[in-house]
């Protein structure tokens, strides 16, 4: 089926404002969800589910959160790792303090607590912008990690500083954490969080909330003249963004790695997620997923490539080659399209509408 919108007439504003106004996009998304929910768990093995898809969704959520703040509201942040840690440790404290509490509620509560912490560290954004704000959020990053390493209460006084997710199930007996958890359940659980939160994010950014954020990003003076309050708009972006990042952190600690220490969320993590949204596309929901896929999947792919090709090279050489090719690919992608993979995708779709005619 060709990607054409000929003959699809939208006769009401409601139809024009639909999330996927073009029929092919609707079918495409439906097909993607069917594949993600049914085909992938049926066909993929345990390795694919737990070490590729689950971290991909977790990183996508974190990238989505940062993209709301940096891509849509224009506030540069380097505190992503710290906020993930807040989500992880809050979820751990809540899950161990209230063993009867549903794991979904634990995660949502962890997100809300992270949102409040994000709100607090977002206050300087009224006065400082750009790189200076990034430096201010670095303070959040270092302070939060220091807090979770030094204060043993957060780790329930574990001598190693490592927190381990207690076994929890959804709908009674489908364990998603703990030793009995099945990879497929973990996969569905993480996928559902990613899908629901991505839909919510898409709705926010295409509505009045998103317009406020983008107005502040593009021209804060004009936004103020229209009646947008800069501080509350920026703080809302910090809160919503941190909510997403907090849930990503909780998913990381509970579902992906099952046990984690605070240093897993250090400054490297913040940069990694920032690179995801830059490569994926700032101000794009799709871009958050594409960027996460690029950063997570490409190294794994490069690592396995020599074996797949039947080449026998040493492990050290593979690692070095991987870094070299990975770096070169990042640079060439950014030169080809500075606005990220999402922009490449959009341009491709625009070309496809006219294909096979060039104009």
């Amino acid at each position: 089926m060709l990607y054409r919108e000929v003959g699809q007439f939208r006769t009401s504003y409601a139809a024009d404002q639909a999330i996927f106004p073009i029929r092919q996009d609707r079918f495409g998304m439906l097909a993607l969800l069917l594949v993600a929910y049914i085909a992938v768990p049926l066909m993929a093995n345990e390795y694919w589910l737990s070490t590729i898809f689950v971290p991909f969704f977790v990183f996508s959520l974190a990238a989505l959160g940062l993209n709301i703040l940096t891509g849509y509201a224009g506030q540069l942040s380097l505190g992503t790792g710290g906020f993930m840690a807040v989500g992880a440790f809050t979820a751990y404290k809540l899950a161990t303090a209230f063993p009867g509490l549903n794991i979904v509620l634990v995660f949502v509560a962890a997100g809300i607590v992270t949102a409040l912490v994000g709100l607090l560290f977002g206050i300087p954004s009224l006065r400082i912008k750009g790189f200076y704000l990034a430096v201010a959020t670095l303070a959040a990053q270092f302070f939060l990690i220091w807090l979770f390493v030094k204060v043993a209460w957060f780790q329930n006084y574990s001598p190693s500083g490592v927190i381990t997710a207690p076994p929890r199930a959804v709908f009674g007996h489908f364990f998603v954490t703990g030793p009995e958890a099945l990879p497929a359940y973990k996969y569905w659980f993480t996928l559902t969080f990613a899908a629901v939160l991505a839909l919510a994010a898409k709705n926010m950014v295409r509505g009045a909330t998103g317009r406020k954020w983008m107005a502040i990003r593009d021209m804060d003076i004009a936004a103020e003249i229209i009646g947008i309050r800069p501080l509350s708009t920026k703080l809302l972006a910090f809160a919503v963004s941190s909510f997403y990042i907090g849930i990503a952190g909780a998913l990381w600690a509970f579902i992906y790695t099952a046990s984690v220490e605070a240093l897993a969320f250090d400054i490297d993590r913040s940069f990694q997620i920032l690179f995801m949204i830059i490569i994926g596309g700032l101000g794009s929901i799709l871009g958050s997923f594409l960027g996460a896929a690029f950063i997570i999947l490409l190294p794994i792919f490069l690592n396995n490539l020599p074996d797949q090709l039947g080449l026998h090279v040493g492990v050290a050489l593979v690692t070095n080659l991987q870094d070299i090719i990975y770096g070169a690919l990042i640079v060439s992608f950014l030169i080809a399209e500075p606005n990220g993979l999402a922009a490449l995708w959009r341009i491709g779709k625009e070309k496809l509408r006219l294909w096979p005619f060039p104009h």
Binding site: Y13, G207, K212, A215, D218, I226, G227, V240
Partner: protein
Amino acid sequence: MHSNGGVLLKVEGIALAFGGVKALADVSFDIRKGEVRAIIGPNGAGKSSMLNVINGFYRPHAGSITYKGRTVRHMRPHQAAKAGIARTFQNIALFKGMTTLDNIMTGRLLKMRGNFLLDALYVGPARREETAHRAVVEQIIDFLEIQAIRKVPVGRLPYGLQKRVELGRALAAEPDLLLLDEPMAGMNFEEKEDMSRFILDVNEEFGTTIALIEHDMGVVMDISSRIVVLDYGRKIADGTPDEVRRDQAVIDAYLGVAHDGGKGA
């Protein structure tokens, strides 16, 4: 131009200085309901500063602003917006990454009651509100004849159209007072004619009071009901186009005069 005599906005004794530079000194004038009021003057006369004082961007050091019968020293920009003052900028201040439609929709934010949770769910009220406001915005798009660029990011539009979108965004707020800072700067004759027609239509069809800064004297004399003339931060004349045209101080300010007590002129 159906000024009914009531005063909408009155500024009295406004003074503003940046460090040692006096941008405005003891400026007083009023704007009547329904009129097109022009503010003119040579470069650096303080015209834009005056608009910035009116909509709360600058805080004057002295003087008062009476708007709709309420007298204050200073309104914050979002308070001014709530009170029905909208404006456009000399250097276009559009949201470059957003489409024409989104830019104008942004102008209606103050009239929208939703919150981010309703937006996230996109159910009931959020969806109805979005559609209702879209209908109003589409009327503005029709009015300004920019249907074709509805979904184009404004950063890609030519200058003249950007000016028009910015006017649309200001109109979307359904303002009582519309401040236009050089709406025709950098336009060719035809574009100026179009813009003049839009301004007069806004004034006549919606009854919006307009205060504009403009350098094209032909346009100013044609479309405005009364004119304030500023020079070096002071008001030097105030009256109808005919009165201002004949005013000796205005002629001196524009043509230049030797500042030695007038003897050398």
